[in-house]
């Protein structure tokens, strides 16, 4: 009895007494100390006075520090995103009125390219906290948050909506209070989705973080010390050794996160799989197994965490039991909700009026330029997607059809995919300038770098998912060459390809804001495009143009979303679904 021990293999924390590993305990202790030190150190930097031009060192010895800063920002942003997502999803799932507003809103907010907010958010935060570094830091955290929160919220919302009916009925019959229901039913059921989406969100978050760290506005330097600004500074000076060190550090950080955080988390989340039978090959993690053998953790769990948790849940349960099943909340609550709703509407109306008035100041020449820019960027996005599709389909199908090749290629591809394209951009520019290419090509290259991995992974998954019996039928009927592609492979991977395309398109639009207008080696390199317009408007402080161009980009993205991607999704679901 006591503790959480079970004989089952796989993802469960396998704690036992006695033969604990001293080494593991020492590592955990040291890790806790280091984290504490890092926390204090970061806090000290944040509250320091604001430097107008941050001196970013190119010395490789600064890399561990810079990596810690970057990680710190990511961590804070992720925690904030998770909490917000849980609250948002809960509200939408429980309240029908809220649902009708919050879910379409989520859809739109998810489509708007996050980086179009970058200038606005940074300026606002600097204005809020004049003279202190914390303004910039909060700005970058807020921006990353904006990129991460929506798919976490949607994942949890979807799992709340998909709760198995009988489990819900069981929890109602047995009088679970809302707290018990949350931690024994809703959170576990949504855990696997949250873990995978967290992985994706954080991966995407690196992209935005790098962009934030490199941010310069006109002659104001808003850069933050971190991996992104390190790489940019190194590239600016053409310092190849530093570039290599920076890349190495980046890859090291990502590998570390993968092994020490994501793999154990995924293995642990296996216990929340809602299936009736044990699956044969559950993901394993060495780190999780080691953690399981730590006596320190077991002791902490037994003496401190478990009793505290027990006391908390008992108190909540007793409180809910006394109160009885929750009533509708009384007339005050309804009034308050209505008041909040009216206030929100008034604010929205006011904001729209102000925005409309300032937009009137734009000339028709501006509008024409905007539309031309939109056309150019749209063309680039489509071209990048086309190139990406063109190479990922043959390669992806080849990898997906050969399991041994897949086992080799997938880890490599994952590492390549994790390196944020924005961090590589200064290097790309450097190379292209030496080779004599222009900004237009550079923009497409950046878009490709950022998005082709989504396509590749999805195509691989699609190729792996083609049922064996269809493949056998194809070979029995001697389908070869083009016929095989046309009748079997392309339709088979179509749904997966569409999923990849939608994500890739979103990433490409985001990339355009950086890629089309960039401060490099003291000068500004740009090309015609909507992303360039946004960045240029920020640089020159033309807020009307900034607002207008952001709105145009949002409209184009949402428009393409509705007209193209949703249609393809429907096609994928009706005609090409294999289930």
């Amino acid at each position: 009895m006591g503790g959480l021990s079970t004989a089952a293999p796989g993802g469960r924390l396998y704690l036992h007494r006695g033969r604990g590993s001293l080494a593991t305990d020492a590592v955990i202790f040291a890790g806790a100390l280091a984290a504490l030190y890092a926390l204090f150190g970061v806090g000290r930097v944040w509250l320091a006075p604001f430097h107008a031009s941050a001196g970013i060192s190119r010395s490789p010895w600064m890399l561990p520090l810079y990596a810690t800063y970057s990680l710190g920002r990511m961590g804070a942003a992720y925690l904030a995103s998770l909490l917000f997502a849980l609250v948002y999803a809960y509200t939408a799932a429980r309240n029908r009125v809220a649902e009708r507003l919050l879910i379409p809103l989520l859809d739109i907010l998810q489509s708007i390219p996050v980086l179009s907010f970058l200038p606005g958010v940074m300026l606002a935060m600097v204005a809020l906290f004049p003279g202190r570094q914390i303004g910039l830091e909060l700005g970058s955290i807020l921006l990353i948050f904006t990129g991460q929160v929506w798919n976490l919220a949607f994942s949890f919302y979807a799992s709340l909506k998909g709760l198995p009916q009988e489990l819900v009925e069981a929890s109602k019959t047995y009088r679970f209070g809302s707290w018990q229901r949350f931690y024994q039913l809703e959170l576990p059921y949504g855990a696997i989705g949250l873990v995978w989406n967290s992985l994706m969100s954080v991966a995407g978050g690196w992209f935005f973080l790098m962009a934030c760290e490199m941010f310069q506005l006109g002659n104001r330097d808003f850069r933050l010390p971190g991996l992104g600004s390190y790489l940019q500074t190194a590239a600016n000076h053409g310092d190849t050794p530093s570039i290599l060190w920076g890349l190495a550090a980046m890859i090291a950080v990502i590998l570390m996160l993968d092994q020490l955080l994501w793999r154990p988390l995924i293995a642990w989340a296996e216990r929340f799989k809602f299936e009736q039978v044990e699956s044969g090959n559950a993901p394993q993690s060495l780190v999780l197994a080691r953690l399981g053998r730590s006596t320190l953790l077991a002791w902490l769990l037994r003496k401190a965490i478990a009793p505290a948790w027990e006391a908390l849940s008992l108190r909540m349960a007793r409180r809910e039991a006394e109160r009885g099943p929750g009533g509708p909340g009384g007339p005050w609550r309804a009034l308050a909700m209505r008041g909040v709703g009216v206030a929100v509407l008034v604010i929205i109306l006011f904001g729209t009026m102000r925005a409309g008035r300032s937009l009137m100041e734009l000339t028709s020449a501006d509008l024409v330029a905007l539309l031309r820019g939109a056309e150019a960027t749209l063309g680039r996005v489509m071209l990048a997607l086309a190139i990406g599709t063109a190479w990922t389909i043959p390669v992806g199908v080849a990898i997906g059809s050969r399991p041994r090749l897949a086992a080799l290629a997938q880890p490599l591809a994952q590492i390549a995919a994790s390196v944020p394209a924005t961090a590589l951009f200064p290097i790309v520019l450097l190379v292209l300038i030496r080779l004599g290419g222009g900004m237009g090509i550079a923009a497409i290259v950046l878009m490709l770098l950022g998005t082709q991995w989504y396509l590749l992974f999805n195509v691989i998954a699609g190729a792996q998912a083609i049922p064996t019996d269809l493949k056998e039928a194809a070979s029995v009927y001697r389908l070869t060459g083009w016929d095989r592609w046309r009748l079997l492979i392309l339709p088979g991977i179509f749904p997966y390809l569409v999923t990849g395309l939608v994500t890739a398109a979103g990433g490409a639009w985001n990339a355009s804001i950086i890629a089309e207008y960039f401060h490099f080696q003291g000068r500004v390199m740009s090309t015609t495009g909507l992303g360039a317009t946004i960045s240029h408007a920020t640089d020159s402080g033309n807020f009307q143009l900034l607002l207008a161009s952001t709105i145009v980009m949002a409209l184009v993205v949402v428009g393409v979303n509705r007209l193209l991607w949703k249609r393809m999704y429907r096609l994928a679901q009706t005609r090409f679904q294999l289930a």
Partner: protein
């Protein structure tokens, strides 16, 4: 036994949905039920017939659209909460909790301390025969063991009424027989900490074996058709004459045509919207063939037994064949009509033709679809059109199933064609030229 005060009493409980056009879809007709202590009550009826709805209303899980439920004579509200438990068909165990954590969960919800929880949970696990499996996870258990956990969880709170929603239908025959026997033993030896049991089932034999009182639910809308005491002592011999007689009686009650009880004026409306029984043309042909093989008639109970079919699976096919005029059911016996006999001996093409004629003549829904398609110049309509009509009369899930069944029959009978890519129905060429 004296008539003690009922633990739960339902007065005039109804369930219905209001559609957008103000029309009402009645799921459950006004019903009165009293659950008395010391008895096992079984609610019997075919699937989808509203049994589960009634169970959920009685146990307080769902509020009835009309009527009231009384717990010990007082309305269910606020502090007066029913002390009941439910054992579910698919066990409803939390996969991420161990057996003992699953059983302790209701106690945790009631604020019982950890020490007491553990003691009570271990005791009840011992009673249901799961001693030693406390730390196991549901994934590692067989179906029978999972349901034992379900029972343990239900009994650990010492409910006054134990509700069971088709508790054995997800288990294989041998396991469910074992569990039934053990349940009965616990009940008769008073080792079970509950005062009454209310079970819902579609297995007639199970009901007659376990229950002291049987309620038979006829469907659409659901209403209690029959309510009788079993009056046999436990243990009951399944081969005894009385047992067989009781089972036969229930079959008769269930297959009695209910059109008899409907007033003529209401009948017209009902016909238009008579729901299709969910059976496939292949199944109907099979049943007719089997009966033809046996000289044209057989006892339904006997048939079900031989084919090892549950009531759920057999009744819809019987209803469908009756609707098409191939079959007549009287007193629990199925007899082929003249048309049915011809159908049994016909070849594939002739069968299609006969099915088509019967369908168009006797199934208003298909007639309606055909005339709607005919009324258009291009003889085609989107499926949404028909789905919408069905949505008005049935709830979402049932409407979709009705549509699928109508599609099955219509396509087989070559009345119309359906193109999933465009989601449209088109009148079959033959009907354009020939002419039913």
């Amino acid at each position: 036994m004296s008539h003690a005060e009922p633990i739960i009493e339902a007065r005039g409980v109804e369930q219905f949905y209001m559609q957008q056009d103000g029309h009402r879809t009645q799921v459950l007709d006004p019903t009165n039920i009293a659950i008395e202590p010391g008895k096992i009550v079984a609610l019997l009826g075919a699937s989808g017939g509203g049994k589960s709805t009634l169970l959920r209303i009685l146990s307080g899980l769902v509020r009835p659209a009309a009527g009231e439920v009384l717990w010990h004579g007082k309305p269910v509200a606020g502090e007066n909460r029913p002390n009941v438990a439910i054992v579910f068909q698919s066990f409803a165990l939390f996969p991420w909790l161990s057996v003992i954590e699953n059983v302790e969960a209701p106690l945790k919800a009631r604020g019982v301390s950890a020490f007491d929880r553990r003691k009570r949970a271990l005791r009840i696990l011992d009673t249901v025969g799961l001693d030693g499996f406390e730390k196991a996870y549901p994934k590692e258990l067989s179906g029978g063991m999972k349901q034992r956990v379900g029972f343990a969880r239900g009994l650990v709170v010492e409910p006054e009424v134990l509700f069971m929603d088709e508790p054995f239908s997800a288990l294989d025959v041998l396991t469910s027989e074992t569990l039934r026997g053990e349940l009965l033993e616990l009940w008769t030896s008073r080792k079970i900490p509950t005062n009454a049991i209310f079970m819902v089932t579609h297995n007639i034999e199970e009901a007659v074996e376990l229950a002291d009182r049987i309620l038979v639910l006829a469907h659409r809308p659901a209403h209690i058709h029959d309510d009788f005491e079993v009056g046999m002592a436990h243990p009951r011999d399944k081969k005894s004459a009385r047992f067989v007689e009781l089972v036969d009686h229930v079959y008769k009650v269930l297959t009695l045509p209910d059109e008899k009880h409907v007033l003529p004026s209401a009948r017209v409306e009902r016909e238009q919207h008579a729901p299709l029984p969910h059976a496939r043309p292949g199944g109907i042909a099979g049943l007719v063939e089997i009966l033809g093989d046996r000289g044209g008639s057989d006892d339904l109970y006997h048939l079900a037994d031989e084919l090892v079919m549950e009531l759920d699976d057999l009744l819809p096919i019987v209803e469908a064949a009756t609707m098409l005029g191939f079959l007549e059911v009287t007193e629990g016996d199925a007899k082929l009509s003249a048309a049915g006999k011809m159908y049994a001996e016909a070849g594939i093409d002739q069968r299609k033709q006969m099915f088509r004629e019967a369908a168009l003549e006797r199934v208003p829904r298909l007639r309606h679809i055909q005339s709607a398609l005919r009324s258009k110049a291009d003889h085609t309509l989107p499926a949404e059109f028909f789905r919408d009509i069905l949505d008005e009369r049935f709830d979402e899930k049932e409407a979709e199933q009705q549509f699928q069944t109508a599609l099955d029959w219509g396509r087989y009978a070559e009345i119309f064609e359906f193109d999933p890519a465009t989601d449209r129905l088109t009148l079959h060429e033959a009907t354009l030229t020939g002419g039913v």
